[in-house]
Symmetry: C2
Subunit: 199 residues, 2 copies
């Protein structure tokens, strides 16, 4: 155990995800001992984040304005909406440069075990966005796991009541991966979704 405030810093850091007691200690000592490390800067960024960052009123993405950079961008295609679980998924998809439409961040996935039901997600807001018939395609891009699949199924059922094309991201073998290391579910999906080779 350390003297007062050092232990407090270790405890605070240890509450962050993926940081155990050993890492928290290492980080605390880095902060203490590295002269070039600017503690004030980190502290100020944290406070600024608290004050400035909000969630986009339209899509739920993180934003410093009432609406996010993507929703404000007139070059984005307003006829397709990609539904994701978290704001970090938006960044992952943006990196592919494959998608030029808008997003909708649910804020999680349906998970009865964690007590997360459809009403805890931003599904009502999604339905409101679809009400004016601008949107022609909803791409469901929830995670390819139990909760993500449950959410996708729930959403696709809900959306069949509307005259909107609903698609789901393809499952299959990860590019650059080894077939022998693929789990059976992924491999099964890859078979299911097999395509004819052009010749």
């Amino acid at each position: 155990m350390y003297e007062g405030i050092v232990q407090e810093l270790i405890d605070e850091l240890g509450q962050l995800p993926g940081i155990g007691p050993k890492s928290a200690q290492r980080i605390a000592f880095h902060i203490l001992q590295t002269e070039k490390f600017d503690v004030t800067r980190l502290a100020n960024v944290l406070l600024e984040v608290r004050d400035k960052v909000r969630f986009c009123e339209i899509c739920g993405n993180v934003s410093e304005q009432p609406t996010c950079l993507i929703c404000r961008d007139p070059r984005r295609d307003p006829t397709s909406i990609c539904v994701v679980e978290e704001a970090k998924d938006v960044v992952a998809i943006e990196r592919t440069r494959e998608f030029k439409g808008l997003y909708h961040v649910l804020g999680g996935a349906i998970s009865p075990i964690d007590g997360v039901g459809p009403d805890d997600l931003r599904i009502r807001q999604l339905m409101q966005r679809l009400a004016d018939n601008t949107v022609q395609e909803v791409i469901i891009a929830t995670d390819p796991n139990l909760e993500g699949e449950a959410t996708a199924t729930y959403l696709s059922r809900l959306l069949t009541t509307l005259e909107i094309k609903v698609t789901r991201l393809a499952s299959g073998l990860p590019v650059g991966g080894d077939l022998e290391y693929a789990d059976e579910v992924t491999l099964g999906r890859a078979f299911e979704g097999r395509r004819e080779v052009a010749h």
Copy 2:
């Protein structure tokens, strides 16, 4: 990439040791999205650490006072000093409850590759502490790696000029480990340092 301040937070977090870009992103979103996470508290602890924490004037351990808890403790044995590389080594040794003497934190180890020579460590301060003949034993507890060994060798040569017992922590098989997984250097040391079994 994220909007301004969120990316700044990710960048700042990514500068901490052991935190890559993915972890930094996960932590940033945890801070953003977890309502119960107290950003202000973490920021304030960081600022308090910057203002309060200094290094013990005697031993170089972290401290909120000019001298640390251990140096201030009259129950500690002033006749033996354990020399360690970093303040976190003090905590590790304190946990064993084996040592009742005082410490001396060098602030690193001799490493020509990293440009760290004897003058960059708190060796002069150690020699000053030994000048009044109170100390009878110096236990060298630098890390059992190349830099630690070099530092130990340098120190032990320096200390032979004084009438002080110099010891080094034992190397050998880690308790609870498997002999077959021990590397050859460790196993060699374990042979070298073998002791006769009492019977």
